[in-house]
Amino acid sequence: MIKGTCWVASDYVMAYDIITSEYWTSPIDPKENSKWVMAGVKDEFNHKNAFKDKGYTFIVAAHNFAGGGKSIEHVITGLMGSGIQAVFATSFARLQFRNAINYGLPFVTSSDINKGCETGDELAYNPENGIIKNITKGISFQSVPAAPFVAEVSKAGGLMNFVREKIAKGEPIE
């Protein structure tokens, strides 16, 4: 069970705005990338550590979260570095959905999540049954449970660890 407060995206959020172009050439590093994460989404996040300092645990978003077509992993490490432990949305853009799986950051699809949460609400997420509780409002949402592979990668602490272990043990990757 993960508990914490959420930030609700007011409109659908693009990868471009989560990490703006001046930071694409930064090293992929949670600490580094979290300094300017969300800088292009809202003016209030456009200064150093602004998003991180809010201390949110979750993001609640609508369609096509992290869309606009950037495959850079800075988006995911930036969110993770700022303390985000899961993102709930009605749909995700594929490139960042894939990166999130590879990093073990739950990108959780829930069809009506965007209609029942406000920024600052306290949520609790149970990865086992996929239930997202809004403790502040006293309502619950069902989400799509993670596929077994995704859960396995997440348990290993990301795809790098997952593959590294297999290589070390001489196990086939299949």
Binding site: T25, G68, S71, L95, N99, N102, F149, L159, M160, A168
Partner: protein, 422 residues
């Protein structure tokens, strides 16, 4: 039950007879591409996996495209580190400054992607490879590092959506107009997320390889996993002198199952423009006639090919770029540059007052040359127009075809290439 071309590719590259959408598979990859600003991190991650040598030094393709030539010391230093790591791993196919091009152009033009195979790259427009019937897929640095070590990548088998394109192409109408038209029709926010898009029909058969690349290239911007065109005589001709590797004609089965089928008749399709900020906010060029702009840009993995330069040269021959417009043209590779030079297009375009930039991603990514400043209005034949894409967040970017950019650059306002000199 039959399979679509993408399902067949995923099945045969994962050692299966059959796959169905939703299934998760580890497949072999034919080639892995990475480029200058992410490549060093790919190799670092690869090394952290405990492997000394890449799975095949001929199949890891390294390209310098986003940072070359370096405009500042930061990029120069990054390039030096990149060169060092590529050299250390003894990579055969390194397209560095002098032999460079935009990675996706290089991958197709140099025969590194083939029908029936899966190729991946650390840049979102890797979907371009579908032009030759390859499953081209954009991935992150993690996937690239793992593929470098193992020759494999994981995929969820996507549902396929078929676009059956019929009708005859009108003069001055390009594949880009079809891309933008489909963008407007399908929207950006969901209908095609994760899907494989298959383009078929008579209007695709008659499309050049350059046009096929444009069409597949922009499928990533529709949210799709890949875009693909089954190989045919055009593909065979194109690949003949580019590869000695074997490949097979592969196509969807007649009884393949599609998630959706869309029929698009292009007989009435005219030049199309996407309004600043959103790719799916598209309008026919007629709606914008007279709109002023001050920067014109043609290049990128979407529209920097010989055909695009030929089209612009035809429109701009003997004319002059409007005095209020700066026009930057960037061939997609050194090969394209040389071909356009030999064909006389570069001469024509320079005489018209256009500036030619060294092959690279240039203005498109907004981090290199020719960036947009505050208040700029850009008419671009690139692939993205969201806020800040080409530099300033206070610039507006209209996206369209090279033909529209060429005709409009002469008049200084958005112009229909079908009628501009009549």
């Amino acid at each position: 039950m039959g399979m679509t071309i993408t399902e067949k590719i995923m099945a045969c590259n994962s050692g299966r007879d059959h796959v169905v959408p939703g299934e998760l598979v580890w497949t072999d990859v034919h080639t892995v591409m990475t480029m200058d600003f992410l490549g060093k991190q790919c190799f670092d991650k690869f090394e952290s996996l405990g492997k000394k040598e890449v799975f095949d030094k001929n199949k890891v393709i390294c390209v310098s495209d986003h940072l070359v030539p370096p405009p500042n010391q930061k990029f120069a230093n990054m390039l030096n580190e990149w060169r060092e790591v590529v050299k250390k791993h003894n990579i055969t196919n390194f397209y560095d400054l002098g032999r460079q091009g935009i990675a996706h152009q290089i991958m197709v033009e140099q025969g590194h992607v083939l029908p029936g195979n899966i190729s991946i790259g650390t840049d979102s427009h890797a979907n371009t490879y579908g032009a030759v019937g390859s499953m081209g897929n954009a991935i992150g640095v993690t996937d690239a590092a793992i593929a470098m070590a193992t020759g494999k990548a994981w995929f969820r088998v996507p549902e396929t959506v078929k676009f059956n394109i019929t009708g005859k192409w009108q003069p001055w109408v390009m594949a880009k107009d079809l891309s933008l038209h489909i963008m407007g029709m399908m929207h950006w926010n969901g209908h095609l997320l994760y899907k494989s898009l298959e383009f078929t029909g008579p209007a695709i058969k008659s499309l050049s390889m350059a046009g096929r690349m444009t069409l597949c290239n922009m499928t990533v911007d529709l949210g799709a996993k890949n875009g693909i065109i089954a190989p045919d005589a055009v593909t065979e001709r194109y690949l003949r002198n580019r590869t000695t590797d074997p490949w097979e004609m592969i196509n969807s089965d007649e009884d393949a199952k599609y998630d959706q089928v869309y029929n698009v008749d292009i007989s009435d399709l005219g030049p199309t423009v996407a309004m600043p900020g959103k790719l799916d906010d598209t309008v026919p060029v007629e709606k914008l006639i007279g709109t002023k702009f001050n920067k014109a840009f043609v290049g990128t993995c979407t529209n920097g090919r010989l055909e695009d330069f030929a089209m612009m040269a035809e429109i701009m021959k003997g004319k002059q770029v409007h005095r209020d417009v700066n026009m930057i043209l960037v061939p997609a590779s050194q090969t394209v540059y040389l071909e356009a030079l030999r064909a006389g297009h570069i001469e024509t375009l320079i005489e018209a007052g256009a500036a030619i930039d060294t092959p690279s991603c240039a203005s498109c990514a907004g981090i290199h040359t020719g960036v947009a400043g505050d208040g700029d209005v850009v008419l671009s034949a690139g692939n993205r127009n969201m806020t800040g894409r080409m530099g300033s967040r206070k610039a507006a970017i209209y996206l369209t075809s090279p033909a529209v950019v060429a005709a409009s650059s002469i008049t200084g306002e958005v112009t229909d290439p079908r009628t501009f000199d009549k």
